[in-house]
C-alpha cells in the first residue's frame, strides 16, 4: 500500500516537472446589505416564521 502511494507520488512529481500545473483560480467574494445584526454570544435571534 505504502509502495503504491510512493509510486503515485513519484509519477505525479515527474508529471509536474514535465508539465507545470495550472494555478488554482483566485477566489474573492464580497456581499453587502443593510446591517441589522443585534445578536451576541448569549443569544441569536431567529427570525424564521414559526412552523406551528
Amino acid at each position: 500500500m505504502t509502495r503504491t502511494v510512493q509510486t503515485q507520488t513519484q509519477t505525479q512529481a515527474q508529471a509536474n516537472i514535465q508539465q507545470p500545473q495550472a494555478a488554482a483560480p483566485t477566489i474573492a467574494v464580497r456581499k453587502s446589505c443593510n446591517p441589522d445584526g443585534i445578536g451576541l454570544s448569549h443569544y441569536v435571534l431567529m427570525d424564521k416564521k414559526a412552523a406551528k
Binding site: A28, K31, G37, S41, V44, A50
Partner: protein
Amino acid sequence: MTAALPSRALAGPALIPVDIGHPVYAAVTDPDTAFWALVDKTRLAETVAGGPLLDAYREQAGAFGQELHALRFGLKPSGVYLNPTERCNLDCTYCYLPGKQRSGGQHMPAETLIASLGRLRDYFRSVMPEGRKPRAIFHGAEPLMNQAAVFAAINEFADDFAFGVQTNGTLLNDAAVDFLTSRNVSIGLSLDGPVAGITDATRRTWGGKSVHGKVLAAMDKLKGYGSWSVITTCTTENLPHLTSMVELFHAHEVPTCMLNTLRCTLPGARGVKPADGEMAKAFFAALDRSHALYRESGRKLVVANFANILIGILAPTARRLMCDISPCGGGRAFFALAADGSLYPCSEFIGLPRFNGGSLLSEGGVEAALASEAFKTVIGRDVDKFSPCGDCAIRHFCGSPCPAEAHEMNGGMEKIGAFCDFYKEQVNYALRLIADGKADDYLWDGWDEGTETLFDLSL
C-alpha cells in the same frame, strides 16, 4: 515631497498574506477594509506584488473601507436586551452575573417593565426606519422567573417589537411554550452536556439538582417550531463531548445552536476556561460532525457562532451576532436594561457598576446612556488602536471579543479578549471551507437573500 511618501501610499492599498493551512490556497487580506482573497500558494508572491486581483481590489477599496467604517461606527441601536429579574433558579459555574443578585435579587415590577418598553419604543421610533421593528430580547438571569411581567409586556407591545427570550428552559411548561410560539417569539435554550453527568458539572440548581432532563423536555416541546436555538457554553467540563452535543441537537431537530466559548468576565468562569488549542480541536471536530450529519440527512444544524465568522468574511454587513466586530455591538447596535432600570452597553456588564449608563426612565434615558462615559469606554474599544490586534491581518473578522472580559480578565479595554488564538483558527477554518466550496453547507439556507454582490472574482 512625493518621494518621501511611503510606497504603499503611492500605490494604494496592499494585501497581506495569511497562511490558512490549506494544501492549495493561501489568503491575502487588507485588514483596513476586511477585504480578502484566496490565491494559489505558488502564485502568492506575484499576487501580492501586483496584477489583476490587486487592480480590481484597488478600484473598490475606497467603497469597502466606507462600508466597514459605517458598520463599525455608524450604526444606531436597533435592539435591547431586557433583564426582567436579577434572579435565577440555577447557579452556573461561569455566569457573568454576580451570585448575590441571582440568588436574592429583585424582579422588575410589571408596571416598570411596561413603562420601560413604552420609553424604548419611542426611542427606537426616533432612530429606526419606519416599518422596521426593533428587537427586544428577554435575557438572564432567568427571565421566566418573572413570567407574568414578561408575558404581559409581550402582549402589550406585540405590534412594536420582535421579541425573543433566552431561557434556561426549566420553566418552559406547555402553557409557556404555547404562549411564546403562538406569538412567534424567538426562543433560546441552554444545555451543556449530552448526558446529565456532563450538564450537571456546570449547570445546576442552587441546591445542586440536575436540570438536564427538563431542558431535554423543553427541546421536545419546541421540535418543529421555526424559531428556536440552543446554546452550549464550552468549558473544560464538556469539551470532550462537543461532538456528542452536536449529535444530540441534530437528533432533536434543533435548527440552530451555538457552541460558545465561555465569557471570562467574572473569576468563577476562569476556572473552567479551556485552552485555545484544545477548544479549537474539539470545536472543529463538532463542526465536522455537524457537516457529516447534514450530508447524511439533508438537514442542517447551523452552529451560529461559527456561521457568523463565515458571514463576517463573505458579507461583513450581514453579521447576525455583533460580538465579532470592533467596536462590538454593545452600546451601539444594542444595549441592555437591568432589572433595576439601569442601562448597560451589554448584559455582560451588568455585574460591573462602573459600566452603568444611568436609568432608562430618568431624564435623558437612552440618549444620555449612549453618551455616557460608561458606554463610551466600551464603544471606544477599537482593535485598530491597540497591540497586537492593530497589526493583525484578520482583526475585522474577529473583533477581539469581548470588551468585558478584556477589561476584567486581561486588565483593560486595550487588551485582547480571552480566546485570541481560537479566533484565528476559526477564521483559517472558515477560509479553508470557502476555498473548498463548502461554506454554504455551514450557513442558514437563504442567508444571503437581500444582499448585493459587490465583488466576485475568478482569475
